[in-house]
């Protein structure tokens, strides 16, 4: 493949893309913000292109700057990663106008599936079940209440242009519909630029299951199995796995068929994911299309042995897919834990800072996608996702056991992380049985808190023995230069 690729993203996903490019001898140019000046992916990209500033709007969301960078460095293609501009029709259009191949669907497809409501229409027209709800944007609160009463409570009020788990609210009665419609509308206009809303019935305890597909420009579309993503906190996925315990071959076939139909109708190309909500009865409903590489794509790679980024590049270059459907074989089980720099003791607030020591786990069936290194900075400007730890086994049980061991070996010293949550989850009897849905984590928090309390006691013991072991530190002056991390640690403990 002859291609020079501009990467309009950062962190672990930039590194993930670079790894495939290096194997394929595709030259890479990495755009980077000031805050990312010493990031790990920079070391492995062939060239780097500075974006002045650090705030996303000045950098990874700035279309003119990124276009200029890609053109200046003579790139042929742009990979948007996930988040940022990955699903922005304006960005794709700018690429097309500048003669750059966009590694993703065309601007025409993006426009067709552009917002949640349009995607819902497309799916409905080709016979894919959609959640009972409004077929258009709601004019006012009265219309919202009228419709909610027709479809039944509770309902979920959604921002048409929302995404990433934001811009959604659950209403239990007419008063709440009225109140939350107004709030969601206001929030959406400030967060997404447009305040349009619609409503859907809130399903009780559904699972979130999605189908990974990839289509080339020659009309070939294949699927790479499903992913189970029901472990969520406020609509944000925390743990994903492939396959799903909830699908039997017939239900899997139905979801796969619906995904292919929906993507086919919209002329979809490149990697895409069709998300569904699945009820325990086996009824399923279209949720949305993710028109990009997904954070959790690695569990699919681990069970199918397909390099999704490689296939994305093939498709973008106009080549046919390397693999055909009958070569796709889902083998074994893979689980992914999203390790975020967040403090579960403080309502999962993101915790930027410096990682003073990092020791990643490894072993048979263990994969970690991360841009961490000892001494790296977790910037306050970007996402709190710092590592994706995946474990694969021949069975789900083996994958869980490998994950437990890998989590125990993981050492990220410097910022609070979601590791304790994952440790507790991998020992939770219901999770281990596969008995969970999208509401699971709500009831899980008390269990997590009792683990944190156990850790507190252990920490008290270690504090006592550490002081006794090297009592010299009782009286020594601070000889080392005051590092930012030390100051931060002190400020934290003082403010507590």
């Amino acid at each position: 493949m002859k291609m020079k690729l501009f990467i309009a993203n950062r962190g672990e996903i930039a590194l993930r893309i670079i790894r495939t490019c290096r194997r394929l001898d595709v030259r890479t140019v990495l755009a980077y913000s000031e805050a990312d000046g010493e990031s790990l992916p920079i070391r492995y990209a062939d060239e780097k292109y500075p974006l002045n500033g650090s705030a996303p709007t000045e950098t990874y969301l700035n279309i003119p700057k990124l276009m200029q960078g890609a053109v200046k460095t003579s790139c042929d293609a742009i990979h948007p990663g996930y988040g940022f501009l990955s699903e922005d029709p304006g960005f794709v259009q700018a690429c097309e106008e500048n003669g750059l191949m966009f590694v993703g669907p065309s601007s025409r497809t993006l426009a067709k599936l552009g917002n949640k409501l349009q995607a819902r229409q497309v799916m409905k027209e080709c016979g894919v079940p959609v959640i009972p709800g409004s077929d258009g944007t709601l004019a006012d609160e009265d219309e919202a209440v009228e419709l909610a009463e027709k479809i039944g409570f509770p309902v979920i009020i959604k921002a048409v242009y929302g995404g990433g788990g934001r811009g959604m609210r659950i209403a239990r009665d007419s008063n709440e519909v009225r109140k939350f419609s107004r709030i969601t509308r206001l929030e959406a206009s400030s967060a997404f630029g447009r305040g349009d809303i619609y409503i859907e019935r809130q399903l009780t305890q559904p699972r979130h299951i999605e189908i990974q597909a990839i289509a080339d420009t020659h009309g070939k579309i294949i699927t790479l199995g499903e992913r189970e993503c029901s472990i969520q906190r406020r609509h944000q996925k925390l743990v994903e796995e492939a396959p799903s315990v909830a699908l039997d071959p017939s239900l899997r076939a139905k979801l796969t068929d619906a995904a292919i139909r929906g993507l086919g109708v919209s002329g979809y190309t490149n990697a895409g994911t069709v998300e569904f909500l699945v009820e325990s009865s086996g009824d399923f409903y279209f949720l949305e299309v993710n028109k990009r590489l997904q954070v959790e794509h690695l569990v699919t790679e681990l069970t199918t042995r397909v390099d999704i980024v490689e296939e994305q590049l093939n498709v973008a270059a106009g080549d046919s897919l390397d693999i055909s459907q009958n070569e796709v074989d889902v083998v074994g089980w893979a689980i992914n834990c999203r390790i975020n720099a967040e403090d579960s003791r403080e309502g999962f607030i993101p915790t930027p800072g410096t990682v003073i020591y990092y020791h990643p786990p490894t072993g048979p069936g263990v994969r970690i996608d991360s841009a961490l290194f000892s001494g790296c900075t977790i910037s306050e400007y970007y996402d709190s996702l710092i590592a994706k730890l995946a474990a694969r086994g021949m069975t789900r049980d083996e994958a869980i056991r490998r994950m437990r061991v890998a989590l125990e070996e993981t050492e990220i010293i410097g910022v609070p992380t979601t590791v304790p949550l994952h440790v507790e989850l991998m020992h939770d009897p219901n999770f281990v049985k596969g008995d969970f849905d999208t509401t699971f984590l709500n009831s899980f928090i008390p269990r997590l808190n009792s683990r944190i309390e156990r850790y507190e006691k252990l920490a008290a013991v270690v504090a006592a023995v550490e002081k006794t072991r090297s009592p010299g530190a009782w009286r020594t002056e601070e000889t080392q230069k005051e590092s930012r991390w030390r100051t931060a640690a002190r400020t934290r403990s003082v403010s507590r």
Binding site: E408, V461, V462, R492, R496
Partner: protein, 170 residues
């Protein structure tokens, strides 16, 4: 036996501990016994802490004055350590009295490869008493206090169970 008041993450705990080896301690918190052992040294000390239920890895960074930072499962637990009793490491009277006769027990099952002291011998705090081989490691068992060896309960080459009595010191 030393006692500490530890503040961690808003909680306050009393920990009493006994040194049972060169880098090994037995701690008690709310009636639960914890065995803590250093596994690596450096800027960060690595510890393994064992209870009957589980064993956990931890990292610690000693800070000036009464502060220590502890990490467990990639989560920081900044702690403040206060010694209970008057000045330095002085233990409260009741624990000092109890410490008059120290009974040293095996922290883990293993084999006594050498006995380095004799009954009636005077030893200083930290002196090597015997070597316990466990998990292919030679573990030096040291004296937690200065005193006189009252009785030795084991012979060289003997296999011992966890918690079996090894030596008493007066």
């Amino acid at each position: 036996m030393r006692s500490f008041r530890i503040q961690v993450n808003g909680g306050s705990y009393t920990v009493s501990l006994e040194q049972v080896g060169k880098e090994r301690f037995q701690a008690t918190l709310n009636g639960v016994t914890y065995d803590a052992e250093v596994t690596a040294k450096g800027n960060l000390t690595s510890w393994i802490v064992r209870t009957d239920a589980e064993s956990t890895h931890a990292k610690a960074m000693n800070r000036p004055n009464d502060r220590v930072d502890i990490w467990l499962a990639s989560m920081p637990f900044p702690a403040i350590v206060q010694t209970l009793g008057i000045g330095g490491y002085a233990a409260p009277a009741e624990t000092r009295a109890k410490a008059a006769c120290d009974r040293i027990r095996a922290l883990m099952p293993g084999r006594i490869t050498s006995v380095l002291v004799k009954e009636g011998e005077e030893v200083k705090e930290g002196a090597a008493l015997l070597i316990l081989e466990a998990m292919k490691m030679q573990n030096e068992i040291t004296s937690p206090n200065s005193g006189i060896i009252k009785r030795i309960f084991v012979r060289e080459g003997e296999t011992v169970k966890k918690d079996s009595l090894l030596i008493s010191i007066e």
